[in-house]
Amino acid sequence: MKFERYGIGIARGMMVTFKHLFRHPTVSQYPEQRLNMSRRTRGNELIWNNVKCTGCVTCAKSCPQGAIHIETTVDPATNKYNVLKIEVDTGYCIQCGLCVEACPYEAIYMGYSVERAKYRRGELVQANEMLLASPDRPASGYMNPHIARELPRQTLLVEKIVEKR
């Protein structure tokens, strides 16, 4: 005799939902209660290091979206490139991180912050000094383990939910 049609399945299912009434909710209340993001978060902007950058445009070449625009001149005295303009259209950026990976001098990083929405399309295009790192524009540890080490540890849901099943 199979107990497939006697309402036992329904009763067992109801028990599961009833138990959840007394468990902690999984959610967190976002603006007040913030969880730490991953140390390798690819936030929605790029950070540029003007000291390390040599203007080799490897990042612009590797960008699949063509969002990075660099203009350089050659300085004949030192035989080096001089970056006149670096312009990133973060509206085109898909946060794939290939530019960071491609850069041979570690001069470009992904941003760590994610709340960078703008009201106008034009403000998404960032250039030169706007791209530099600053306290409110921290760099993320994506592809850069030495930065990752200093960032806060990621909050994990696996560790947050500890109730026994």
């Binding site: 329904i10 794939c96 290939l98």
Partner: protein, 367 residues
Amino acid sequence: MTIKTEPFVINFGPAHPSTHGVFRMRVVLDGEVVLDLEPVYGYLHRGIEKLAEQRTYTGIIPLTDRLDYLAAMSNNLAHCIAVEKLAGIKVPERAEYLRVILAELQRLCSHLIAVGAFLNDSGAFMTPILYMLREREKILDLFEMLSGQRLTYNDMRPGGVSQDAPEEFLPALHKFVDQMPRYLDEYDQLLAKNEILLARSKGVGILSKELAINSSASGPVLRASGVKWDIRKAEPYSIYDRFEFEIPTGTAGDCYDRYLVRMLEMRQSVRIIEQAMKQFPSGEYRSRVPKLIRPPVGEVYSRIEAPKGELAFYIVSDSSIAPYRYHIRGTSLINLTALRDMIVGWKVADLIVIFGSIDICMGEVDR
């Protein structure tokens, strides 16, 4: 007295709550019974195959993320394996294990969404999908820790993975794998034997074994019809030949079997991850590969078992930095071949359940 009745045409989608995106079906209804059905595709066509012809082999990886966006890791893996086969790139051990772990986590992730959405379509108001999203969230945490993104990971590269796993990855994975079987038990308890679900899905939308094979169905849809075919076993790619696992198969090929096969596959995935964790080696995570890969002239058809079925890439190379022809075997699209045969004759409510049980992702259908 006779009452004149006539069937009426109704549009399901492209903006319908349970068409999983922008799928559209023109359905001819007689009262509640579906008389005819014509799927309309193409609302999410982005021309990925054409775009890929102008990108480097590394630059394509973000595109593959956007194919089946619920299983981006698997797509990355399929692409990377295809490119490695084409260019003859070796992959270090650690990367292989990491890839298998990620691919299996991704399978869990995708199946959780599939089962949850199926149960949601069958009317269990949001509860199962929210429970399953909770588990998916834990997996996404792990992915985020590894790659920095939660949906479009862009994590694997030809010749390995982009970054090594951080030291806190394995303990977290351990915790997750410990918890997961208990949660799966809970899901089984929640709805697997529910009488209403049985009544709704047993015997509904039967896809016979012959039709399943003939219409090139793959993945859980094929296995639910009773075909023991899994590329991980049949043609072990990566290092799948080192793990012990079973291929769960259904018997009837109805919606309930498809649901059950997914639930059982999740347990097998957990099993694979456990084994991979035990054998996890140290060492290189990425072999040295030039930035611009120029594979020799040739073609390759390489397939993997993605969560939704056989995902394959057919790449023709002309030894330049971009592929000459880049074809994607969209699993979801091909699984929809037999959609009409499965649905016609059932009611509107069954249409939704059958459609939900196939588990498609519109990004992969229209590409």
